[in-house]
């Protein structure tokens, strides 16, 4: 089985289990408040880490390149309340243009 398929299986099983956790396993209960706070923070934490690696990540080194321009362009698009896909397109376009120019 290729690497991709293993990830498909692991993420699929975990996400299915998480979605069923309330309705099938535990019923309508609350997580303990502190645990809930940690679970709630997982999303912004992981997303921020992904922004950093996607923008500055190299082969075990930090790189400053055209991607920064793309991310900046996306930030402006997001501030202007553009749809996520529009922000992605803007980032890709800006990055590609810088790569063409440099």
């Amino acid at each position: 089985m290729s690497r991709g398929w293993i990830v498909v299986a692991l993420l699929g099983i975990a996400t299915m289990a998480f979605k069923a956790a309330g309705p099938v396993l535990v019923g309508r209960r609350e997580l303990p408040p502190r645990l809930r706070a940690c679970v709630d923070l997982l999303a912004p934490v992981m997303l921020t880490a992904l922004v950093v690696t996607q923008t500055f990540g190299g082969d075990e080194e930090l790189e400053l390149d055209a991607r920064v321009v793309g991310l900046g362009a996306a930030a402006i698009a997001i501030a202007l309340r553009a749809h996520i896909v529009v922000a992605m397109f803007v980032a890709g376009l800006a990055t590609a243009l810088v790569r063409l120019a440099v």
Partner: protein, 221 residues
């Protein structure tokens, strides 16, 4: 008998979800285009992932870590940590599901951020709205992913077109709504610091997994 609002039906859930249709369609197309071309992935894997995981953020996270050369474990954990929020979300609506365990399991799979939000729009969670809107989004998501993988083949190599920055933009856009309160900003800043510190010294994927520790900011009162 006093007038009470009519009980919504599943078709009401579909109707309410229609204005939000562009989101799963565009997002699904983008996932199909990007995932089909990611290293270690392919068109079929992309569609199967959409059909089984049905959660945009987690799917994009796992695929991007894999594409960056991360290990299978790191790629899986990145997506799994993002999906963890469904534990809390599914617990808030656990009591609206009728029937036996198998049926509840099947119907719980249409829980996504949007169907969950729509189902609670009247102030209490409504099962027909959740299932109607969620099933509608599910079909759009899987079909759009499939179409995206075909489009990706036509477009050629999206990496040359700034794929990496498009991923970054996606994660930034998804993160912004969480950064409205101080603790969210603190946790995000800590995560960024951990990631920046580890990228030069650790293999791809490891910095992301290590950054998950920043969620422990939530332990502070």
């Amino acid at each position: 008998m006093p007038d009470s609002p009519p009980r919504p039906r599943i078709r009401d859930g579909v109707r309410i979800a229609i204005p939000l249709a562009p989101s799963p369609i565009l997002f699904g197309l983008a996932f199909g285009v990007l995932a089909a071309d990611a290293s270690g992935f392919g068109s079929l894997a992309a569609v199967v992932m959409s059909a089984t995981t049905f959660s945009g953020a987690g799917q994009f996270a796992s695929v991007s870590v894999l594409d960056a050369g991360g290990t299978v474990v790191a790629a899986s954990l990145a997506g799994i940590f993002l999906s963890a929020r469904y534990i809390a979300i599914s617990m808030t609506i656990a009591s609206i599901f009728p029937g036996g365990r198998l049926r509840r399991f099947a119907e719980s799979q249409v829980i996504v951020d949007e169907s969950w939000a729509l189902s609670g729009r009247s102030g209490r969670f409504e099962w027909p709205i959740l299932v109607g809107s969620g099933a509608f989004f599910y079909v759009l998501w899987v079909v759009s992913t499939a179409i995206g993988t075909v489009l990706g083949g036509v477009l050629g190599n999206p990496n040359a077109l700034g794929l990496d920055a498009a991923f970054a933009a996606l994660f930034l856009a998804l993160a912004v709504p969480y950064l409205r309160d101080r603790r969210g900003v603190q946790a995000a800043a800590l995560a960024a610091a951990i990631t920046l510190a580890l990228v030069p010294v650790a293999p791809a994927g490891v910095p992301i997994v290590a950054a998950s520790a920043a969620c422990l900011v939530g332990l502070r009162r």
